[in-house]
Amino acid sequence: MQLRYCKQSLAIAWWQLRHQKAQTLAAIVGIAFTTVLLFMQIGFRSSFIGSLVQFPKSFDCDIFIVSASSVTVLRPLPFSERRLYQVLGVEGVESVSPTYINSFLWRDPRDRSLFLRQVMGIGFPLNSRFFEAPGVADNLDKLKLNKSVLIDERSRPEFAPIIDLFRQQGKTIEEIKTSSQGGLHRIKVVGLFELGTSTSFDASIVMSKSTFLSLFDRHPSQIDWGLVRVKPGYDVDEVTERIREYLPNDVRAFSKADVLNKERNFYEYRTPLGLIFRFGLLASVVVGIIILYQILYVKIAQSIQEYATLKAMGYSQQALTLVVIGEASILAVSGYIPGFLASCWMYEFLETATQMIFVMRLDVAIAVLVSISFICFVSGGLAVGKLKEADPADIFG
């Protein structure tokens, strides 16, 4: 199609949209809404998975060793420390370190009869330098005192009073409960670090190995994770394979990349959450297509006489199709922009409210724009069928 026809078609698209302002505005709101829905679905999904893998990602290691009974690396069961030190004999292994993980309850400072749930305690030998979350390295000295802990400053808002109290006083004594029978302990918060929460924990603290063992009444030889660093120049997958062959099958070894992928895949495909996200995504796209198709269909139906007149004047079917596609595209872009801005605001709000990670990433922004364009093309393509009813033979009489 020649350029002047394209220009005229797009001009007609623009004029038509400008002519029926209320209808156009409704369409833009509809698309903006769809955009927000998409960002919400994708945002929740990537924030959920991102938050889940944030924790293993914070460890500066190449290989994780977990008990073979663990369902996922993030929900480990203890295994013997001996297995970890055996690994030192494998070619390519540079260093190893144990990590201890356990969840516990925290007495609510605002209502002392309640306990806050889902707090994760992380313990490690202070000289191991494997846990790299911001703030940990600076405060290692303070953890040498017994029952001293660092608290995650990006914990859920219900932990804010504790963090505030620490900031005011430089330290705060808190009470926690580490087992169902008794298990009450006093701990001293001596510093802050940054990790962020996930759906499995609302707050976390780090402490020395000895503090951990005394708080959780754990036998020192029972560890949750074995962390392995590989010597420079060695392939991580090959070393992982060697470790697997070397160790008995009561433990399993995974490369860090493998762990992150497994975690993502586990939640994506093995839990209902992944399915719900995908379903939500599909539903948003379908709703978007229906909204826009409806609007375009009504627009064409209203202007059927005008389209017939254009056909009589020698405008081709392609030129008229381009008018409809042009309208869809203009609506897509002008609906996407406010939808994007609203979503940025929504992410910020959700991040503050949940302390999970909500980042407006460029690739997600482009993916949503592509989805919105897809919605517009599909609905435009469906609505174009209505154009066939514009018969120039009907315009006389």
């Binding site: 002047r4 038509q16 400008r18 009589a312």
Partner: protein, 368 residues
Amino acid sequence: MDAIAIVEKLNYYYPEGKGERQVLFDINLSIFPGEVIILTGESGSGKTTLLTLIGCLRSMREGSLKIFGEELLNASEKKRMTLRRRIGYIFQHFNLFEFMTVGQNVQSSLVHEKMLPAQARQQTQDLLTAVGLGDRLNSYPRELSGGQKQRVAISRALVHEPKLILADEPTAALDSETGRDVVNLIRNLAKDKGSAVLIVTHDRRILDIADRIVRIEDGKLITAYREEMTLALPTIEDQYFKQLEGKYQTKDFDPGEIVIDEGDDADTFYVIVEGIFEAVKIVPDSPPKLLRQMHKNEYFGEIGLLTPGSKRTATVRVSEDAPGKAIAIDRETFASLVKDSELTYAAVSHQLRKRLTDPEMGENDPNV
């Protein structure tokens, strides 16, 4: 001159139930450059169908239809679309694009022309100025009156200078004065550019702008005698024509054929439909002397009829160049027509007086 449109032996059918119904029968019509043709007929007679066929808006079934020399029988949709770009369309309800300004409406016809946008704007501006809407370029159709809208629609139909303009009831949505202005505008603009115009109308008040009137009855094209007579006798009213129905006949004459001889009993009144007729004085031993040439929509023979028992005062024959056709009305019918209608009487008397006072006629026609 080559015809712009030639319709030959055209039949057309509409589907009806399981079968089909024929709506146009053996239509033959040629449209020549610069000609204004009015097509009339009752609702449902098939005139709009014929208009849409000539307008390349429908695919043909049978016969031949050539527009700008291109045969439309079995023509592709694309070919019809391309031909439509060279035709101007004017509609009863204007069919302006409500979402475009007046200027954009008119310019929308120029998209098919290879011209610079500035040139297209200038051409639009010039034409709108010519139709008296030069200052409404940026108005929207909803801000205009009916007459103004139709002027915009006419500008849109004519701005790309099509050689064929099709108008469907262009005055139906307008009051009579505005309607009159609008058809005059169509006629004048078309004549300027040598474009042919085909107007479908019921509106008797605008018949006089036509060079030719054709009528469709039950799907058959006929010469519109009644309408032709209206042109010749503009003051006559419709009801008198109804009385005339069946009391006149059309006569075809060969080139040079004598219609009435001087000195015959005057018994018939003629209205010319086609060809050129000449009133001559036969002078013995010398060539006949031409008194006057008469064209379409003029009439003759009335002088003898106004005075009972009188003879023909001159000889009338068809010109040597082409055959002629005339409507013949007998003395009795003519008398009743004139008696019943003061206006007609006045018109005929006026014409009569004009001929008598014509110096040449007076000199050459002492007997009258």
